[in-house]
């Protein structure tokens, strides 16, 4: 390896990394996914670190332009990790191995936390405010996500301070965290089905079941919300096992809604 002359990064540089990492997903392409934003976010700090040494810059930009795709907060963490390993003069193959080996598992944790847990909970609370006609719904949403957005800063700091030490404990922690996040995600998901999906036959739909008995009352006696549960699992099965494109399913649902409305069953 060429020159190992490194300028030490300041606390401010690492804080700024958190802000630069906001741009992780710009210039997203199907070929490299987040590589462009991932590299660009680390460049200001790295330029300072190597005093704009062209050989170092070339090497750094080239290996970071390889495919990377992770959850944004996890991405900031990974950027901090890469920079700290660069700073300590770790060999590039080691850094590359860490970068390419970690983005997937980290994405799993990040997605479970931010997409599948934080968003449904924040959206659930804010939408219930909105449904009561309160302007507080969207405003609270904006404020909370301002906080979630700037959480990148501590994530970057964490990655940078953990540095190479992260490698050792990571495997074990990742295993437990992924599992915990999956359990939390599944529990919340189960609650979202009856909260957000509504399928009810109209009172006019009786099928000659006898006085006062509607089709809907039969389903409700069996288990309330059984139709939303069944339909959600049915769609899951269609996508997973039959590889049906979600777009066709949505169009089918619209046709179904129109048909049911036309014959007056719903």
């Amino acid at each position: 390896m060429a020159s190992k002359e490194r300028t030490k990064l300041s606390a401010k540089d690492i804080r700024d990394l958190g802000l630069w990492s906001i741009f992780l997903q710009i210039s997203f392409s199907f070929e490299r996914m987040q590589a462009a934003g991932f590299t660009a976010g680390m460049l200001p700090a790295f330029r300072k670190m190597v005093n704009d040494d062209p050989d170092e810059l070339r090497r750094f930009m080239k290996y970071n332009m390889e495919f990377v795709n992770t959850e944004p907060h996890a991405g900031t963490f990974l950027q901090g990790l890469v920079l700290s390993m660069e700073e300590s003069g770790t060999d590039q193959p080691v850094i590359e191995g860490m970068r390419n080996g970690l983005f997937g598992p980290l994405a799993g944790i990040g997605d479970s936390i931010f997409w599948f847990t934080v968003l449904p909970i924040v959206a659930g609370i804010c939408c219930s405010l909105s449904q009561q006609g309160s302007i507080l719904g969207p405003i609270l949403f904006i404020l909370l996500y301002l906080g979630v957005g700037f959480l990148r800063i501590p994530f970057g700091q964490l990655g940078y301070t953990m540095g190479t030490r992260a490698m050792e404990g990571m495997q074990e922690v990742t295993k437990y965290l992924t599992r915990g996040a999956a359990i939390l995600g599944a529990t919340v998901l189960g609650a979202l089905i009856p909260s957000y999906v509504a399928i009810n036959f109209s009172d006019a739909c009786v099928f000659g079941l006898g006085e006062g008995t509607t089709v809907q009352s039969v389903f409700d006696a069996l288990l309330p919300n059984i139709l939303p549960l069944a339909v959600t699992f049915g769609i899951y099965w269609l996508i997973k096992e039959k590889h049906v494109n979600a777009v066709y399913i949505i169009l089918a649902i619209i046709c179904f809604g129109l048909a049911m409305s036309f014959i007056g069953w719903m």
Partner: protein, 266 residues
């Protein structure tokens, strides 16, 4: 009601700002709850924006960008739900169903852009080869603005330019059609949730989904936060259990190893 030219430009600006955010996924201004609210402000009817935001946010909850996929565009869905409700006087659920083609249009555009970005990625490879960090930054950031400008035009055309055709189209609807869209609008979240299940649901997390489902079906909950707390508790119980099992497994493994060593010694 009519959308004036000035309002049309204002909606375009909302589209531009929210698209800047959507590409970074930083502050979640691309979520329907925020887009609808801002569009409602531009149209001078914040209450309508809040109502449409709640309905469209719930429907697009599962439409995530996880793993580099492009879902039907939540930004345009939130925008067009308000625009259609405002111009045609339909309720939010019906407007949501009618906004779907626009979300699909934006989705197709998004896929085309992510494909076209491959050329930018190769341009960035050249910059890396030349060790030109400034050019690298320029080529990463330029598409961010270009794509957002595209959404300005898209929103302006869909709202201002298309309002008369949309109005005329909807005016021909009999009652059952708008009700049919409402029925479909209530089922659509099932698709989003099924897609969440693809990533979170495995056989060993399915029991947790059932716990969440039963809680939300039989308890009166203001939102999903209590379920999330139960989820965290369950995840923690599982963590303690797993750690203990791993500990037992580890001791068992090491003791057999020691015994083996003794035998060799004897």
């Amino acid at each position: 009601m009519q959308i004036t030219l000035l309002q049309g430009l204002g909606l375009g600006l909302v589209g531009f700002i929210c698209k800047l955010d959507q590409q970074t996924e930083a502050f979640y201004w691309f979520r329907p709850i925020v887009v609808s609210f801002l569009a409602g402000l531009v149209l001078g009817d914040p209450a309508l924006g809040v109502a449409c935001g709640a309905v469209s946010e719930l429907a697009y909850l599962g439409m995530t960008f996880v793993g580099g996929t492009v879902p039907p565009d939540p930004l345009l869905a939130g925008m067009m739900t308000v625009v259609i409700a405002y111009t045609t006087g339909q309720n939010a659920e019906t407007a949501l169903g009618l906004s779907y083609p626009f979300a699909l249009l934006a989705q197709m555009l998004g896929i085309m852009i992510n494909t076209a970005m491959v050329f930018v990625a190769h341009k960035l490879d050249d910059c890396a080869e030349r060790a030109d960090a400034d050019a690298f930054m320029r080529w990463t950031f330029a598409p961010w603005f270009v794509v957002s400008a595209l959404w300005f035009v898209l929103v302006f055309l869909c709202s201002y330019a298309l309002q008369m055709p949309i109005q005329n189209f909807v005016a021909t609807f009999p009652e059952w059609v708008s009700h049919g869209f409402e029925v479909a609008g209530n089922i659509l979240p099932a698709v989003g949730l099924a897609m969440l299940m693809l990533t979170t649901l495995k056989l060993d997390t399915a029991p947790y989904l059932m716990i969440g489902f039963v809680m939300a079906t039989f308890l009166v909950l203001p939102n999903v936060l209590p379920v999330a707390i139960v989820g965290v508790a369950l995840a923690f119980i599982n963590y303690l259990h797993e750690k203990k099992m791993d500990g037992i497994a580890a001791t068992a493994a090491s003791s057999t190893y020691l015994e083996g060593g003794d035998e060799d010694g004897i």
